[in-house]
Amino acid sequence: MTLALALLPFAALLALIAGLSAVPFVGLLTALSIVFVRQGGLFSLAWPVVFAAVVALIIATVPVGLLAGYEEDATPSRKAGALILALLLLVAANLTVPVGDVSFFAGSLPEFVRPVSVPAVTVALGVTFAGLATMALRSGIRRQLAGVLTACDGVLLSAVNTPDPSMAWLVGACVLLVAGAGTWLARRLSLLRERQQVPHSGKMT
């Protein structure tokens, strides 16, 4: 559990550097983290957790599989700026939760945002920020789509981390919608030459 959670920000940074090919790794780690964060069992109904984990696996594998036949981005990769921004945001994400503060847990938090696992809050925020930095600063739709998917993973993790089970359903559906639309647009915008020497079949959609 702790290992998956600890590796998750590094996987997100890897997705920032390597692009779409590292996204399945992020998705796998996110699914593992989702399952193990909720293993403590604050509520007995496990269906939202299963749904969130399945969504994390789906958005990590299906877009990568669908986009496998298309060309890589030819645009210049602005890697350094995105990496610096992501690292800064990771530090900022770690500063958002006062870890040693006991009154933070007993304080007057609204019931539905009280986190199940406190380390998962910063990890989810860091993964989301890394994805957003990728989305904002890298160029080329495949790299940006990798950022979108990473950010979606982070939001899924933070949704599962709240005690309200409806959040997982809502955010899971929202993430599926975004991943579907992003994949569709990426297929339209990618270079339509397929890697194998298949003659053009007029597939312009």
Binding site: L109, V148, C152, V171, L177, V178, W184
Partner: protein, 381 residues
């Protein structure tokens, strides 16, 4: 009466989806005939009028429920009068959109032009009515996704759609993360940043190559989404979940609103064309300030003008005078009201708002009489 109010609310929420489906079915069939297209073009305005009337009837129901102390929350929905007023404004923009003459790029896609605004308006109204803030933010994302998938199908539109989707996804993800975060101040800040991006406030309103916010192909959709996001923000500040989060959110909205107003008024002064777009940006910034100071009805008032005038912006002829009035007068009135409210709380901030709007006075005053003079010359000639 309670039952009647519930039924009416359900009907008015379900109506846009139903009407959009009807329009899509009938107009799609009329595309082959071509002869009945003229008759079908009257269908969408009438259906949108029915939706507006249904929504207007919801306002007294919401008032009645609130006065008599009934629970306004049923399941996932909350029928507050503020949310219903915002929904009326969105429906009015839909009516204006349906009555407006088609733009040139719309002519080839009759289906999308007529049906998609119904569906997106329905989704945005649903976002206003939902009670959980996370559900609201998630529902705000569904409308642009639908618009991008259905509208940006033409050649060369996909990149614009992707950039718009990227901005909206960034904003919504930030807002969702903020709403789910346990630290109240961080929660308010992240939600504010997300709402700034979704509603096209300061960082998103800067002129950039990749994502021109108000000049994109489906700018009507973008404007309606921005209005819905701002109204949602005003609902969030009207019923805050924690005081600190609401304070951080309001602070960020006020700052973003000031920056937007200053940018847009400078643009009005420097850039000669696109006065209507810049004025729309001014009203969006004023709406953000109104969100920040917690005046939810002022948000509806200032967004009413650009939402009604938006589809008619490209119109030539004597109607432009009305467009200019619709764009200008709510801005003027809201500025006065905001300065009045602000000068009671912080007099300096009200002064700063007046200073930020100073570069805009001269171009706007020139904007109004130019149409007047042109109209006079047309009538005389």
């Amino acid at each position: 009466m309670l039952m009647a109010a519930n039924i009416l609310l359900f009907c008015s929420l379900a109506w846009p989806f139903l009407a959009g489906t009807v329009v899509a079915a009938l107009v799609g069939r009329a595309g082959e005939g071509g002869e009945s297209a003229q008759r079908q073009s009257q269908l969408a305005p009438n259906l949108s009028l029915v939706g507006l009337v249904l929504m207007v009837f919801d306002i007294p129901c919401a008032w009645w429920l609130e006065i008599h102390g009934f629970a306004t929350q049923q399941g996932w929905m909350t029928e507050s009068s503020l949310a219903v007023t915002g929904a009326v404004v969105l429906h009015a923009s839909l009516v204006s959109r349906c009555f407006a003459p088609p733009r040139r790029e719309d002519a080839r896609a009759l289906l999308s032009r007529d049906a998609v605004p119904f569906w997106t308006t329905g989704l945005l109204v649903l976002a206003l009515m939902l009670s959980a803030p996370v559900a609201r933010a998630a529902m705000l994302l569904s409308a642009p996704v639908l618009a991008v998938i259905l509208l940006d199908t033409g050649a060369g539109c996909a990149l614009v759609g992707w950039n718009m989707l990227r901005r909206n996804v960034t904003g919504t993800v930030l807002a969702l993360t903020g709403l789910l975060h346990p630290n109240p101040t961080v929660s308010g800040l992240l939600t504010g940043f997300g709402m700034m991006l979704v509603s096209g406030l300061w960082p998103a309103c800067l002129p950039s190559r990749s994502s021109p916010m108000l000049e994109s192909v489906n700018s009507g959709e973008a404007l309606r989404l921005a209005a819905a996001a701002l109204i949602t923000g005003s609902l969030l500040t009207a019923a805050p979940q924690s005081m600190e989060a609401a304070q951080a959110f309001s602070f960020l909205m006020i700052v973003a609103g000031f920056l937007t107003v200053a940018t847009a008024s400078l643009r009005l002064r420097v850039v000669s064309g696109e006065k209507a777009a810049s004025l729309t940006l001014v009203s969006i910034g004023l709406a953000a300030i109104a969100v920040g100071i917690g005046e939810a009805l002022l948000v509806d008032l200032v967004l009413f003008g650009p939402l009604l005038a938006g589809p008619w912006r490209d119109m030539k002829g004597r109607g432009q005078w009305k467009v200019a009035c619709l764009l200008g007068l709510p801005v003027l009135g809201t500025t006065l009201l905001i300065v009045m409210v602000l000068s009671a709380i912080w007099p300096t901030v009200g002064l700063v708002l007046v200073l930020a709007l100073t570069p805009a006075w001269k171009p706007v005053l020139r904007f109004l009489p130019s149409f007047h003079a042109r109209m006079g010359s047309e009538t005389s000639g």
